[in-house]
Amino acid sequence: MVELNSIYKRIIPKILVSTHHKSLTPQALTTKFYEPFRFIGEPESQALIFQSNGADELFLVNLSPKSIAHSSFRRIVENVNRNIFMPLAVGGGIFTYDSASGYFDLGIEKIVVERIFETSPKELIKVISTFGSQSVVGSCSFWGDEASFLGEVKQRSVLRPESLVERVKFMEDCGVGELLLNDVSRDGTRKGSNLSVLHEVLGMTKLPIIDSCGFGKTSDFIASLSLGSSAVAVGTYFAFVDQSFLQLRGQLSNHGIRVRM
């Protein structure tokens, strides 16, 4: 019998793209504190693996928009989208209406934006009025470990947790359709996501929340999804854990989490 009113929880692989120090060719990689940690292959082949595993959705993020030309990342997006038939969200370096519409023009259905809230929110509002709120994921990178706050990770600014509330409200006012929470202090550590921040944000908004950063064990997924996140986005997890989507879903289902089987 079908459960009423309950949408399936999503597991979303994140393919982060950057340039290798030995090669200018953009590659997929895992990160630690949002810094390149290990290169794992071509984004296109990674996407095909996730497609064959039946991932619920895919994030493709240009981690180095200053060093990867817009045209070459756009080509990667085009190649990935050519071969997959699941939802694709693209992020990194989207600061204007034109850069956003350039990706929609390739046939993708969602963008992930972050710095545009600081640089040009009016451009984002224009995007939303054309493509709809459901097409925009508002990303929020913060440093959850207050004691070791860095202010920025190289050139990537991160918020303090106390600034997060204000940012979430602003993103909601701008009209985004989903929120992505990135606790950079947990990125790549595999010690679990920031549940206290997730709990706080869940109390502030009715937007679907995608929890990210720090997932290392099945119990981390169970904790986040049980608390109320709509989805979990993982970059490192599938690169280092000898576990398939099917196994993870089976374990989540056994714990009462509604996932596609």
């Binding site: 019998m1 079908v2 009423l4 009113n5 949408i7 399936y8 929880k9 999503r10 497609q51 039946g54 619920d56 959705e57 989208n81 050519r82 038939f85 699941m86 939802p87 694709l88 519409s101 929609f104 023009d105 390739l106 046939g107 993708i108 259905e109 969602k110 009025s129 054309t130 493509f131 709809g132 709120s133 459901q134 097409s135 359709g177 989903e178 009715k206 937007l207 679907p208 709509s230 989805a231 596609r260």
Partner: protein
């Protein structure tokens, strides 16, 4: 025989993903940008991924609106996806000043939770047969990818042949068929194998 599939090339839509899906299935889809091209195709798709107003306004800009409007009741099969389905009604709370194709007498509503707050139906969800509407034993007939915050209520379905999806105490009209028209709220082009079979079925209709 395989249908000759034409997809409206709306810039605010993801029509290129829909084209790729039909190509993957072995069809040779074409992008429609001019009114005179409409009569060439046996099957026409109105794509989504945008607002109600963007779809309607772009149809007017391309001078396609009235030619598309005249397709109801003809031999040409029409499929509207997401916002492409919503514009088959009279109007939408998303852009109240914009008038839709008005094929059907439904008004697109804001998706609210029981507390009256706007919510987003984003992710994979089940579709259920219309015969289940009053049944307590609901049986799933497919799982597809949804992404919207405006919806058509299942009770406003233009026909008795439809599926619906329960979400936050709303009954979302997830698909229907009436005359030569099919409307689908979810995204078959992004719903993996189950979605591709929906598109294939349309092209074979």
């Amino acid at each position: 025989m395989k249908g000759l599939v034409g997809i409206l090339a709306l810039k605010s839509s993801n029509y290129k993903s829909i084209m790729r899906a039909f190509s993957h299935l072995g069809y040779i889809p074409s992008a429609i940008i001019k009114p005179k091209e409409i009569s060439v195709f046996s099957h026409i798709v109105i794509p989504g991924v945008s607002t109600f107003g963007s779809v309607v306004n772009e149809l007017h800009e391309l001078d396609l609106f009235y030619d598309i409007q005249n397709l109801i009741g003809t031999e040409t099969k029409v499929l509207g996806l997401c916002a492409g389905m919503q514009i088959m009604g009279t109007g939408s709370a998303e852009n109240p000043q914009v008038v839709g194709l008005s094929w059907f007498n439904y008004q697109v509503q804001t998706l609210n939770n029981p507390e009256g707050q706007r919510v987003f139906h984003t992710g994979w969800n089940s579709t259920l047969n219309s015969s289940d509407l009053k049944s307590k034993e609901l049986q799933e007939c497919g799982v597809f990818y949804f992404n919207h915050s405006f919806f058509v209520c299942a009770s406003d379905s233009p026909s008795k042949t439809f599926t619906f999806t329960p979400f936050m105490n709303n009954r979302v009209l997830s698909s229907f068929q009436h005359l030569n028209i099919r409307g689908i709220q979810f995204h078959p082009e992004k719903s993996q194998i189950s979605g591709l079979s929906i598109l294939n079925d349309f092209a074979q209709w």
